[in-house]
Every structure is written in structure tokens, then in C-alpha cells.
Subunit: 333 residues, 2 copies
DNA sequence: TTGTACGCGTTATCAT
DNA sequence: ATGATAACGCGTACAA
């Protein structure tokens, strides 16, 4: 396989490049017989138009950049897939760049992407806290998962407060009244927001947190285990635990199992993130909250498309999360 | 920020585009004073050269495609990072495309990438089994993780046989003699290869598998649990378990814990994959085998660069995996 | 219906 | 040391 150019195709078909171009691009002003000849020639040479050259003319590269700092790709990948989906893979291709949390590397990547003339940029943070704006750029930008600190930018985030509400609401509907909340690093807005949502919903019901307060700690199984032990000690009558992440939930389940406390009949457990390797394999499989990141990616792509057509937006848009019911929660019979 | 062109820079600096180009590209044949004027003009306009136009001339786009079918990005992402690393992020950008295991989608992506004039292609499979070759393409291709079925292609894979050997060797060095192997779907070459390596090493030592055979099953925690129960039943004197994946290892650890069998003092456990969310958080943290995928990605990038310079290779190259020691294994005292 | 000619932004060759 | 000019591959207004 070599690289045929439009000239080669035109020559083989016995027409001019202009005609060849029109024929292949479905312009009406070309005779059917001619078009077919051109198309055949193109196939024969397995011609593939040079998108770079097209981009030079149309001023559109048909590419977007996905700039992330999310090492493991745990959040970026679903967002990428959603975006790919919405753009249509033949229309737009995605440059994935990982800045690895390094501001300098981010600048580098940004320069490279701009010089590649990406039509737009999706910026994905590693954690759902506010991140510094990239500032004024020659292309539209959408911040996803982690919002920009500049309200003039457009940010798309998932609803952590709503997620906390949903989780607790589900537990209440399961008939639970003594609900505890074990979560991660209080320095994360996600931890604060989820906790706030949980408490709000509890308060509406006239309930208070079992254990008296939110158990902040770390985003790890070990903390989930430790906190659960303390919780059981202080408040053995707890009948539901809302874990701030699936990792924490795994630790919670571990200790409950160890203590021969049945899940969900005696204590219901709900996680957060729907990280399937953790949630599906746990004992029992974990009810959890899904961020709907693919959807977020699709919306990001749509907003980007709109912005490229001049319809720009700004501010922070919040998108609902989704309850995934598995076996770690059930009605109290 | 707008989009300044070289013409704008030249005009502002009061020189021709040709001179401006030379000045910015560090060509020697330009007066220092002139160069500085041009550079300042470029900065002032925040000029960024249009890589598309450069590519038109140089016949190099400075991009490569990473074509994967690995949904979760668990393997692709480390490989991507290694490749990014080796290429240098300012030299080469990477298009990440996920075919999601769909041959048609793969064709689509391939067309798109070729028309974007990628300089090369890295193809990453979802599992380390042989996959169909993409055939003859106008750009060099390196298959990583999953080898191509065409020996004329260049494939880079990790050494699963060696990994099995390494795992068992480590257990032997820990003084274990009754070593069992619980692994996943026997339809995966990875499962077969790891098992083969394990048995080889055992045989060298005059040992046989505890339990009499390899326990094939599924790549899940649940299978790890079930198999461990059966194993303990049939062969209670086992003193080490080599799990074919970290997921399986988690199941193994779970049951051992449940049975009050101490790890590692009575039974040592080793996993495979070094999937950190599983391996680091387990109780105790899991000794496991790392695929060195970032290294594989770097090599892939190097091979691709070489091939772009005309130095092509072919056949399957196997790269060593690495033992990661944590607390689930220890000498038998 | 088809072909000619120009331009997209850049680099390289050749004059000057 | 600098500048005019011709490519690179393609789309499109315009002429034929």
C-alpha cells in the first residue's frame, strides 16, 4: 500500500484534479459515468484524502484534544468514549494527552495541540475539584469532571451532592434509619459534597447520621475497614453504611463479613463511583452510584461542536448521577 | 488569542515570510538582530506554527495512532504513557481510538487514522492472544500486548511463561514446596503460558503442583474464592498459591482470611498484573507480577521511529515481566 | 459538464 | 543576509 494522491486518481481516471475532487465529494455537477470512473480509480489506488491538506483549506482539522491529568484513565476513558461516540469516529479524532498532574507538561501538551490546530479541547481533571483555567484560547474549551475556576469557562461536572442524596434516599427507601457515612479525604470537594447531600436528605427525614458525624479519612480500603470497626464499636445498631467510594465500601464489606454481620439483611452498604472491578466482584456485589461519565463525554462533545459553530456557553453545568442497584442493599423486609 | 500566521509575524517584523521561517527555525543564515526581531514578533502575536502545513511539506504529520480494543484502558494507558514518553510530547501526538472489540469500528478508525496521515500505528489488544493482522499498510505498525497472526508483522509482547516461572521461583525461594496454581479461563493463552512457566520451574525443582493440577476457571474473585475452598479441601497442606491474576488473588486472600489461615506465614500468595487498586489495598498487600507495560510502550515508540526511518522489524519480541514484592509472600522463616 | 487557477501556511531552493 | 517563488494535496470560484 502506498499513498495515492488526488492527482494520481485524476490521471488514472483521465480527468482533472478538480473533477476528481468534485466526483469524490458528491458534488452534483458531474456526470454519473465520470463519477463512477473516478470512484473506481480511487478504490483501485486505495486513495485516502489527505486530511491535513483538507484542513489547511477548510480551517478545520477534524481533531480535538483531550487533556487529562488522570493517570489511570479511570475517568478520562469513559469520557473519551462518550466524546468519540458523539463526534462520530470518522468525523473527528481525539488526541489524548496526559499531563500527569504536572503544570509544565500541561503547557507543553497545550502548545502541541494548538499547533496541531485542534478544533476544540476537553479538559478532564483527576479529581472533581476546581482547577485553574487555561485562560483565553483560540479554540473552544470544555472542562469536564473538574470545573474551571473561571466562571467564563464552560464546565461540566457530575452531581456529587445529588449523589449523596440519592444514596441516602435509596437506603431510606430500604427502610434503614440508622445510616452512617464513611468517606475519604475531607480536602476533596467530592467528599464534602457527597456528605452534604447525604445529610440534607437525612435531615428532610428527621434523621441524623449514625455515629453522630461523617467519618472522613482516606480513599482506601484500609480506611474503610478501620472506620467500620470504630463505627461498630460506637454505634452497633447501625443498619446502613454509605461509603464515599467503592474502595472504601470494599473495606466496609470486609469488616462486616469478618464480624459475621450479614449484608444486606442486617446492614446495607452502598458505594460510590461504580468502579466495576471493585463493585461487581465484591461480596455481595455492591450497590453504588455511577457518574455517567460517558454521557458527560457526549455532552462535552456536543457543547464543543456548538462552540465551534459559534454557540458558546459558560458557567458550571451539573449532571445527574445514577443509582446502580446490586445486592449489597435490599429492603429491610 | 487569535491565530497568527507566519505572514503576520513577517509583516510585523518587517521581513519576508522566508526570512521569518528561517529565523524561527534556527537556520544559521540570518542576522542575529533580525532573528530577534522576528522572535519578538512571534511572541507578541503568540504565533504557533501550523503543524498541518508543515506536515504537508515534510510528509510527516508528527502523529501516531494508538488503536486499542481494551475498553477500560487498563493495558492501553500504560502503553500510551510509555509511548508518549519515548516520542517526546512536543514531537509526536497520539490519537487514541477504541475499537471496542468491533472489527467494523476498527476499520473505520483505521481509515480515519490513515487519512490523518499518522506516521505510524500501535495496535493494542484487549488480551494477550494472537489477533488478526491489519495487513499491508502505508505506515509502519507495531502490535503491542497482543501479537499479530502474521509473522511478517512486528509484535511486542510480555513474557507470560517467564512470569509464571518468576512467580513460582519467588515462592520456592521463600521456602515453599507445596505450591498450587489457580488461574482464569483456559481459553486465554495468557492462562496457558503462565501455567506452563509455573510447571516448568516446579519440575526443575523436582516438585509437582499442589492439588495435582492447574485450577483453570474464570478471571474473577468469585472463582478465586471457590477454587481456594476446593483446594483447601483437597490439599490442606498447601503452603503457597500462585494466582493467575490479581482479581483471582483477591478471592484467594479472602477465603484464607476467612479460614483464619495466615498470609504469608502459613500460605504465601502471589498475583499477576499488578493492578494497583487491587494489589495495594488487599490484606496483606499483594506480591504480584508487573507487565512493564510502560516499557513496552517506550519500545513500541522506538521501533516505530526506527521503522519510519526505514529500519523495519518483524516477528514476535518478548519482554520480561517484573516481580513486585509486597507482604503476601515472605520466607518460611 | 469539465478544466484552469488560486489559495490554505509552511519550508526549501534559488536568486539577489 | 534576505527575498521571491515553487512546491506540498486539496477545494472551489470561475472560465470554458
Amino acid at each position: 500500500m502506498s499513498r495515492a494522491t488526488l492527482r494520481d486518481v485524476a490521471k488514472l481516471a483521465g480527468v482533472s484534479v478538480a473533477t476528481a475532487s468534485k466526483a469524490l465529494n458528491g458534488q452534483p455537477q458531474v456526470r454519473a459515468e465520470t463519477r463512477e470512473r473516478v470512484v473506481r480509480a480511487a478504490e483501485q489506488l486505495s486513495f485516502s484524502p489527505n486530511t491535513l491538506a483538507q484542513g489547511l483549506i477548510t480551517q478545520r482539522s477534524g481533531t480535538v484534544g483531550l487533556l487529562t491529568s488522570d493517570l489511570e484513565g479511570r475517568f478520562s476513558i469513559p469520557i473519551l468514549m462518550g466524546a468519540e461516540d458523539a463526534f462520530g469516529s470518522d468525523q473527528t479524532s481525539v488526541f489524548l494527552c496526559d499531563a500527569r498532574g504536572d503544570a509544565i507538561r500541561e503547557k507543553h501538551h497545550l502548545r502541541a495541540l494548538l499547533s496541531r490546530r485542534v478544533d476544540g479541547l476537553i479538559v478532564v481533571g483527576a479529581r472533581p475539584d476546581t482547577r485553574p483555567s487555561l485562560g483565553d484560547l483560540p479554540v473552544p474549551v470544555v472542562y469536564a469532571y473538574a470545573p474551571s475556576d473561571d466562571p467564563a469557562d464552560l464546565s461540566l461536572i457530575t452531581d456529587n451532592v445529588g449523589g449523596g442524596r440519592t444514596a441516602v434516599d435509596h437506603l431510606i427507601r430500604c427502610g434503614r434509619r440508622r445510616i452512617a457515612h464513611i468517606t475519604g479525604d475531607p480536602g476533596y470537594s467530592a467528599a464534602q459534597d457527597r456528605a452534604r447531600g447525604a445529610v440534607e436528605r437525612l435531615t428532610e427525614e428527621g434523621l441524623e447520621l449514625a455515629g453522630g458525624e461523617v467519618w472522613f479519612g482516606m480513599w482506601s480500603e484500609a480506611w474503610g475497614r478501620g472506620a467500620t470497626r470504630m463505627l461498630l464499636d460506637r454505634c452497633p445498631e447501625v443498619d446502613a453504611i454509605f461509603a464515599g467510594s467503592d474502595e472504601i465500601a470494599r473495606g466496609v464489606l470486609d469488616v462486616l463479613h469478618e464480624e459475621r454481620i450479614d449484608v444486606p439483611s442486617r446492614v446495607a452498604v452502598i458505594g460510590f463511583d461504580n468502579w466495576s472491578v471493585l463493585a461487581v466482584n465484591s461480596r455481595p456485589p455492591l450497590t453504588t452510584i455511577d457518574h455517567n461519565l460517558e454521557h458527560l463525554g457526549r455532552i462535552a462533545a456536543q457543547r464543543l461542536s456548538a462552540a465551534m459553530d459559534g454557540v458558546t456557553g459558560s458557567g458550571v453545568e451539573t449532571f445527574p448521577v445514577r443509582l446502580i442497584t446490586r445486592e449489597s442493599t435490599a429492603p429491610l423486609r
